[in-house]
């Protein structure tokens, strides 16, 4: 059995009264591509942010294999957030180099790794361009190169193919498969089951802040006694999905009052008239 790279033990995460994640236990093993699948607001991004050390768990711990808390060993992680997080006034290479320097990697080593992967992604000629004019696909590829430039042990990808065209999404998936073939470890969040099935060795279904299932695609089919993953997903997530609450910071009393008095009410009589006329 492959060695465990990251252990998530009894992790819960609360934002005020909102319980975003509850009692999550998970081991990320070396050389596997793990898919986090769930609807919007299920807790995928929160879990990834906890794994990347951006959030601290409310309870429990997230440690690397030597027992070090992940927040203290972030140089071993490569992170691609959903928004890609590229600086538009810098070139692609400057974006990559900036992150590499923060990881303590020399420009030379960073360039070696970047140019190797850039060739696969057909990005070599675009590295000197400002990212402002990049398409969504090029931005995603640049963010991937940036996350790989320092040679991370674990790559965390938050919805890496969201909003990409078919070719770009295919290229990203091909890169993830290549990384797996080279022994890399990837945690891949998506809400597309077909994509998870294509790319991931192991699928974790998150629903309303809890892990509903964890296993290979075949394991999930056996567990749910279904014939395809979509049916399996539906049978595992029958409880109504909650709204996305993680980012909904409570506004102050004055802000709420001001919004209420400055927002016009829906003109009900007009709606009634429209309905009647139809």
């Amino acid at each position: 059995m492959a060695k465990t790279l990251m252990s998530i033990t009894n992790v819960s995460k609360n934002f005020g009264d909102i319980e975003a994640l509850r009692e999550v236990n998970l081991d990320i093993r070396s050389g596997e591509v793990v898919g986090l699948v769930g609807s919007n607001g299920a807790g995928k991004t929160t879990l990834l942010r906890l794994m990347s050390g951006v959030y601290a768990p409310s309870t429990g711990s997230i440690c690397l294999e030597d027992g070090t808390p992940v927040a203290k060993m972030r140089q071993r992680l490569g992170v691609v957030p959903e928004s890609t997080g590229l600086y538009s006034r810098l070139t692609a290479w400057e974006n990559i180099r900036y992150h590499s320097r923060m990881h303590g990697v020399s420009d030379q080593d960073s360039w070696k790794r970047t140019s190797r992967f850039a060739e696969h992604l057909d990005m070599l000629d675009s590295l000197g361009r400002h990212t402002k004019g990049f398409s969504r696909g090029m931005k995603q590829k640049t963010a991937l190169l940036r996350a790989l430039a320092h040679g991370p042990s674990v790559l965390l990808l938050d919805e890496p193919t969201a909003g990409l065209d078919i070719t770009s999404a295919r290229t990203v998936r091909a890169l993830v498969k290549q990384l797996r073939d080279e022994g890399g470890t990837v945690v891949y969040s998506t809400h597309q089951l077909s994509e998870a099935e294509q790319v991931c060795d192991r699928i974790i279904i998150i629903h309303n802040g809890g892990i509903q299932a964890d296993g290979s695609p075949n394991d999930l089919l056996k567990q749910t006694q279904t014939t395809n993953l979509e049916e399996a997903y539906v049978s595992l997530t029958q409880e109504k999905a909650r709204p996305r609450e993680e980012d909904s910071k409570k506004d102050g009393r004055f802000t709420r009052w001001w919004r209420r008095i400055s927002t016009p009410k829906i003109p009900k009589f007009e709606i009634k008239e429209v309905l009647e006329s139809e």
């Binding site: 060993m73 928004s83 590229l86 600086y87 810098l90 923060m102």
Partner: protein, 406 residues
């Protein structure tokens, strides 16, 4: 802090400055405008005023004189100042300053001013009907007054002389003996320091605050809105390193702006000094050192506070709505500071935030190095700067800063 920490702070600051300077509008805002502001204000503005004044001088203004009789000497005085006079031999009902029907003539610009004058026994009574909002009309009034006051001087001298008195001793019985300026023991440098102390602290304070607004917002709320902060927070740097790096970048950009503005100011002062309008202030080495020190402490406080307030905001718009009006917190104390009398000033003024640094700058520019005051403003400024830095560190440690509106 270890070497890695320093190199990360350096990397953050360098990236922020590079990214910020990639926008040509930023270069104009932080280099061109501060550099040219004072030279334009102090050199171009007076030149423009002079040229406008010369243009006004060359104008021929139209004046109607309403009088039954006018002495020839008075007509000569008025005529010597490029005035086109038209006489109307009409009598005016008192008082002379009541415009009556002549309002329309002035409003339609058929004349620039109307001089009404009449003699009642030994006294000449007069009024000049004019429109103060018209430059031509005001100029006509001014020329008429000059001519009439000259005539009045001559008439006064004539009347005194006719009474057999000495004109000079009668009109000027109290006289200053010698050169007025030599009686002032303040040196030219000290006088220049006093004049400059009235606006240099104001300019430094306002510019430091205002030029830090844009970079502070861009590097905090801007990053948050663009969604670049999450990637940054997942890097192996602490929130404090992030704050220091960004603080360094904002302070560098603000510092460049302030230094360039001071250079522009010194150039303008040098130009004015060469025309003997203002002298160059005399500053001792300790005074210069303390001026730099006070500005540094002020900058630490202001930049940390602006970064904190911008980081609290969810968007660039929200941050702008908070930091824009916050400039009042600098302008009001700065204006109050101008009217505070420095002679016998109470010590508590040197403990008040913002006011303390502005007063310190005023004192130092006037060459006054008072240990007691320095100790108070230094200690309190340091405390305020540390408090602001602590508040900023708290804001940067918040978990919700990772969430963006986009």
């Amino acid at each position: 802090m270890n070497n890695n920490s320093f190199s990360r702070i350096k990397a953050i600051a360098k990236k922020e400055v590079v990214e910020f300077s990639r926008d040509w509008r930023t270069i104009i805002a932080i280099i061109i405008i501060p550099l040219l502001m004072f030279p334009l204000l102090f050199i171009m503005f007076p030149l423009l005023m002079e040229s406008e004044a010369a243009e006004l001088d060359s104008l021929e203004v139209k004046v109607i004189v309403q009088s039954e009789f006018l002495p020839e000497t008075l007509i000569q005085e008025i005529n010597s100042s490029n005035i086109d006079l038209t006489f109307e031999n009409t009598s005016i009902d008192s008082p002379l300053s009541s415009p009556g029907d002549d309002i329309q003539r002035l409003r339609s610009s058929s004349t620039d001013a109307i001089l009404r004058i009449e003699q009642r026994e030994d006294i000449w009574y007069y009024a000049i009907i004019h429109i103060s909002t018209s430059e031509r009309s005001s100029e006509a009034r001014s020329r008429l007054l000059t001519g009439m006051l000259n005539w009045e001087d001559n008439e006064t001298s004539r009347r005194i002389s006719d009474q057999g008195l000495d004109v000079n001793s009668t009109l000027d019985p109290l006289r200053w003996d010698g050169d007025i300026s030599s009686a002032d023991v303040a040196t030219q440098g000290e006088q220049a320091g006093m004049i400059l102390s009235l606006f240099i602290p104001l300019v430094l304070a306002v510019w430091t605050f205002s030029s830090a607004i844009q970079p502070s917002i861009d590097m905090t709320a801007g990053e948050r809105e663009r969604g670049t902060l999450e990637a940054l927070l997942s890097l192996p740097c602490t929130r404090k390193e992030l704050l220091f790096g960004k603080w360094l970048a904002v302070a560098t950009i603000t510092g460049i702006g302030v230094i360039l503005q001071v250079c522009g100011l010194l150039f303008a002062i040098g130009y004015l000094a060469s025309s003997s309008v203002i002298g160059v202030p005399e500053l001792s080495v300790p005074a210069i050192f303390l001026i730099i020190c006070s500005i540094m402490l002020f900058a630490i406080m202001v930049v940390a506070l602006e970064l904190a307030l911008a980081m609290r905001s969810h968007s660039v718009k929200e941050a702008g709505s908070i930091l824009g009006p916050a400039i009042i917190l600098i302008i009001f104390p700065a204006l109050f500071t101008q009217v505070i009398n420095l002679d016998g000033i109470e010590n508590f003024w040197f403990a008040m935030p913002v006011v303390n640094v502005l007063l310190a700058l005023r004192e130092l520019l006037m060459g006054r190095v008072i240990i007691e005051h320095i100790a108070i403003w230094f200690a309190t400024s340091l405390a305020y700067a540390l408090l602001a830095a602590y508040y900023a560190a708290k804001q940067f440690s918040r978990e919700d800063i990772v969430t963006s509106l986009s």
